[in-house]
């Protein structure tokens, strides 16, 4: 199981989740994707959308004042 990183702090909806999905599509099942994103809309939507599409959200943590990290395990 490999771990990958993605920074979508410069993206806006819906490209935040689009970029996450594109990155997840390159991974194998069980791989981990650590996504850095802004609080607010991206933090509200990206983990929810990932979970809706069957991936597992393992952890959400604050890394800077406005930046959070969401750890997603690919289904």
């Amino acid at each position: 199981m490999a771990t990958y990183q993605l920074d979508i702090t410069k993206e806006h909806c819906p490209m935040t989740f689009v970029k996450t999905k594109v990155e997840l599509s390159k991974l194998s099942g069980g791989d981990i994707l650590e996504v850095n994103l802004l609080k607010g809309e991206p933090l509200d939507n990206v983990p929810r959308s990932a979970a809706e599409q069957g991936h597992e959200v393992l952890k959400i943590s604050q890394v800077e004042e406005d930046v959070y990290q969401v750890i997603i395990k690919k289904k």
């Binding site: 819906p14 490209m15 989740f17 689009v18 999905k21 594109v22 599509s25 809706e52 599409q53 069957g54």
Partner: protein
């Protein structure tokens, strides 16, 4: 095929869909759809398939654009009058989406050429408005194992059925063309332009679902709608053992042209 950044943006609404995603969009970009007739049904079908990024779109039509087409054939514009429809359609698609390769065939499908035309495509859209050609498309697709979408419109109503090998074909339901003159053509009966848009767009959606393997197709079901009374329904249609082309003892094993008056050759 790996998408570039512009493609990821362009197709973002498809990529978000859980049933399409990156993999589905890549299938669309690799997909090949043939549209027979660049008229009322073919116009919206071509526009939506082009917008969706279908990698190769073939369009067959022998006609040129005339003023009476413009009320519903939305891929053609007023300055296109006199231009071959396939050229007019190709120009619009290329402006809309450079990802799409358009093969424009200024021709009519007949028994002797249809198998070769359809052989290069994954899915066929019937956008014709005459019964002989509809039956020819059905028979060619059945005999060559190709999936296609049947579509027909008149006045305020439309019907569509999707064929995939092994399922109910158009001839299972409507054995043979009706006698000449018994059913009015669109040019005689009229058609609300928006109906062409509704039906052609359903056909485009079926093509995209087929390419991506998403959901249930309109196989073994005929979708019929009448917008005058706002009735929309699907009717279960079974394979017929007596079908002349896909039944137990088929009588059609090779394609034949059915005679038709020249005035019926015009596309919708």
């Amino acid at each position: 095929m790996i998408m570039n950044e512009q493609q990821i943006e362009r197709y973002s609404r498809h990529i978000i869909l859980s049933n399409v995603g990156v993999e589905g969009q890549e299938k669309i970009l690799d997909g090949k759809v043939l549209i027979i007739g660049a008229g009322g049904l073919g116009s919206p079908a071509a526009l939506y398939l082009a917008a969706a990024g279908v990698g190769t779109i073939g369009i067959i039509d022998g006609d040129v654009v005339d003023r009476t087409n413009l009320q519903r054939q939305v891929i053609h514009f007023t300055p296109d009058i006199g231009k071959p429809k396939v050229i007019s359609a190709k120009e619009k698609i290329e402006l809309m989406n450079p990802d799409v390769k358009v093969n424009a065939y200024q021709d009519l499908v007949v028994a002797s050429n249809i198998s070769e035309y359809i052989s290069e495509y994954d899915f066929i859209i019937d956008g014709t408005d005459n019964f002989p050609t509809k039956f020819l498309i059905n028979d060619a697709c059945v005999l060559n194992g190709k999936a296609f979408s049947h579509g027909g419109i008149i006045r305020f109503s439309g019907q569509t059925l999707t064929y995939t090998p092994g399922n109910t074909c158009y001839r299972c339901v409507f054995h043979e063309p009706p006698p000449k003159g018994s059913v009015p053509s669109c040019s005689q009966a009229g058609v609300l332009g928006a109906i062409a848009g509704m039906l052609g767009t359903i056909q485009a959606a079926e093509a995209l679902k087929y390419l991506t393997g998403t959901g249930e197709l309109l196989t073994n079901r005929l979708y019929y709608f009448d917008t005058l009374k706002n009735n929309y329904r699907t009717i279960d249609v079974k394979r017929s053992d007596d079908c002349p082309v896909c039944g137990k003892h088929p009588t059609i094993s090779e394609l034949q042209d059915i005679e038709m008056p020249a005035c019926d050759l015009k596309q919708l």
